[in-house]
């Protein structure tokens, strides 16, 4: 018995060593439920590289994980727009060499050179999420923007995202300001609008707002585009609109961390995700907007319009406290 245990331990130690020597590993940290397991398994089989896959559920969590672990712990991560900007500022990312990515050409050019990384020196776009309004057209009249949500008819009939920047940002846009505005008076106006529609809000939920629509708990929801599309698959009466006054854009990006210990494998992994068939598998399961021009469900013009009318959430530094205080006041 002892011998077998000893042998087992030795085997484990040995495999641990070989893994390290060959460098047949890539350490990936990604959003939870964002890439189907199958895609990861296929990659491991095809390239014979082990993927150590971890997940996070907010950009802040990613930042905390990254800053609290030693350099080289993670190779590929998927921060959103403002977090990319922040991480570049903090020197946490390394410059990308697109010549190492044979599938770089698959990326639709409209998604490149976005405000948070002007020349895509550090990041490449992966998937685009937008906040949209979805409603059950059987029970609700046509809705065009957040202003319509204040209608007295929709008492206790709306679910909003449980995200202070996105939701307060939407109220700001409704009263005519920028989504990233933090002027005290403007925030107060946004709060006034909230007071008007307060009784219509049934819940704030970011985890699965689509279930509210699917189970008829509410007839109206503000949710991420992929969630809205999945809800529509359940109930074809659900209509999806991009609010007239604007909406939030959230682009998740491929980046490689500074001091990554498996840079070559990291490039292989990104290049694999850029492949048409792989990308198709991802958006089949999670129907966000694909940045791959060969697998997109949207026309070039539609994409341009979506990008033009939406706004990225930007870092507001110290002023985040204002949003936080207002959020606490709202609840």
């Amino acid at each position: 018995m002892k011998k077998t245990i000893l042998l087992l331990i030795m085997c484990l130690l040995l495999t641990g060593c070989t893994n390290k020597q060959d460098g047949k590993v890539v350490n990936v940290l990604n959003w939870s439920s964002y890439i189907p397991d199958e895609v990861i398994k296929d990659f491991e089989k095809e390239y014979n590289i082990k993927v150590n896959y971890g997940t996070y559920s907010s950009n802040e969590e990613l930042l905390a994980k990254l800053s609290s672990s030693k350099d080289g712990t993670y190779d590929v991560i998927f921060p959103s727009d403002y977090m990319v900007e922040l991480m570049i500022g903090k020197g946490m990312l390394q410059e990308l060499d697109t010549s190492k990515l044979t599938n770089y050409r698959n990326i639709n050019k409209v998604f490149l050179n976005q405000s948070y990384d002007k020349n895509n020196n550090y990041s490449l776009p992966f998937l685009l999420a937008t906040s949209v309004i979805a409603y059950n057209s059987e029970n609700v009249e046509d809705i065009y923007d957040y202003g319509d949500l204040a209608n007295e008819k929709y008492k206790n009939d709306i679910v909003l995202l449980d995200d202070e920047r996105i939701t307060i940002g939407a109220f700001l846009q409704t009263v005519g300001y920028d989504i990233n505005d933090y002027n005290d008076e403007h925030l107060e106006e946004a709060y006034q609008f909230y007071s008007k529609m307060k009784d219509n809000i049934k819940a704030f939920d970011s985890d699965s707002p689509k279930s509210f629509l699917i189970t008829n708990e509410t007839n109206i929801g503000v949710l991420w585009n992929a969630e809205a599309i999945l809800a529509k698959e359940h109930n074809p009466n659900i209509k999806i609109v991009y609010p007239r006054n604007g909406y939030a854009l959230s682009m998740d990006n491929y980046v490689i961390t500074k001091g990554a210990s498996h840079v070559d494998n990291a490039y292989l992994f990104i290049d694999y995700l850029l492949r048409d068939d792989v990308c198709q598998k991802i958006i089949d399961d999670y129907p966000y907007i694909s940045t791959n021009k060969n697998t997109s469900n949207y026309s070039e013009q539609e994409l341009k319009k979506i990008l033009e009318n939406g706004s990225y959430i930007k870092n507001v530094d110290e002023n985040i406290k204002k949003f936080d205080r207002l959020w606490a006041k709202m609840k």
């Binding site: 907010s58 206790n156 189970t215 949003f323």
Partner: protein, 285 residues
């Protein structure tokens, strides 16, 4: 012989001491420490001493959240008391095997993660959920009741999750009451209510306070219940602390609220001790 005994004592206590030191005391000290730092906007900290995090707590917005949390926790505690006493007293008249079985049933929910059980309530309470469908189906009501995504949902969730923590100490106190006293009370013509207020209550008050502490304190912090059954519309202290660490990236403020909460708890424990409660009962129920 004596020496060997003390070596054994050390062998068994040292791991616990190391455990408490590394995993309880150190993190708490860290929380205390960062509550005096300034936050930078990136979620980091500036290592200069400040009391501003504690001052911020007294902002009217946060005071309101504190009061709301205390209100919800108080209501939860009172409801739990009202359920636990009749349950515990009625257990006393049961056969021992039935009694043991019923007490075990009280503990059965602990076998399953409380988060999953809370999600289970959604299926029961939602607009087209089991309770509403049954009530509409039998013609008792016409339109669905709002059972969740409001204060009611939160209270239901809190009472459900925390009830065992009230029943167990109350039961253990009630079971120590001498049945002869109760009998004497009835013989002298006291009503059930009078027997309760004159015999049970005075003799079991420390058990009741013990249970109340164990219900009240978690009820202030169980943010997942307000998130799930309150629909994220209502914020209690637990949600506020969670937000500081996860979304607002303001760890020092989150730490300050946590320390404030710990102080509140210590005051409650102090009151418990003044009432004659034993610390052993709190930990070893």
């Amino acid at each position: 012989m004596k020496q060997k005994h003390s070596i054994e004592k050390y062998l068994f206590t040292v791991p616990v001491i190391i455990y408490s030191f590394l995993l309880i005391l150190l993190p708490l000290l860290y929380v205390l420490l960062i509550s005096f730092f300034k936050s930078d906007s990136y979620g980091g900290m500036i290592y200069t001493f400040t009391l501003s995090n504690y001052a911020e707590i007294f902002n009217i917005t946060y005071i309101r959240i504190f009061l709301k949390s205390i209100g919800i926790a108080l209501i939860t505690t009172v409801i739990c008391l009202f359920i636990a006493y009749p349950f515990a007293i009625s257990l006393m008249s049961k056969k021992e095997t039935t009694r043991n079985l019923l007490i075990k049933l009280v503990m059965v929910p602990f076998l399953m993660n409380s988060l999953i059980r809370t999600y289970g309530w959604i299926v029961l309470l939602r607009k087209n959920g089991i309770i509403n469908s049954a009530l509409i189906g039998t013609g008792i009501i016409n339109s669905p009741l709002s059972l969740m995504y409001n204060n009611l949902g939160i209270i239901i969730g809190m009472v459900y999750t925390l009830l065992p923590f009230m029943i167990l100490p109350v039961y253990s106190a009630v079971s120590k009451v001498d049945p002869n006293l109760v009998e004497a009370s009835y013989d002298l013509g006291a009503s059930k209510i009078k027997t309760f207020t004159k015999i049970y209550l005075p003799l079991t008050i420390s058990g009741a306070f013990n249970g109340s502490l164990m219900v009240f304190i978690p009820a202030i912090g169980y943010f997942f219940i307000t998130d799930i059954l309150g629909g994220g519309k209502i914020m209690i202290i637990g949600n506020l602390i969670k937000n500081q660490f996860l979304t607002a990236r303001n760890w020092p403020f989150g730490a300050a609220i946590s320390i404030f909460l710990i102080l509140m708890t210590l005051i409650l424990v102090k009151i418990y001790k003044q009432l004659g409660g034993k610390m052993d009962d709190l930990g070893g129920m």
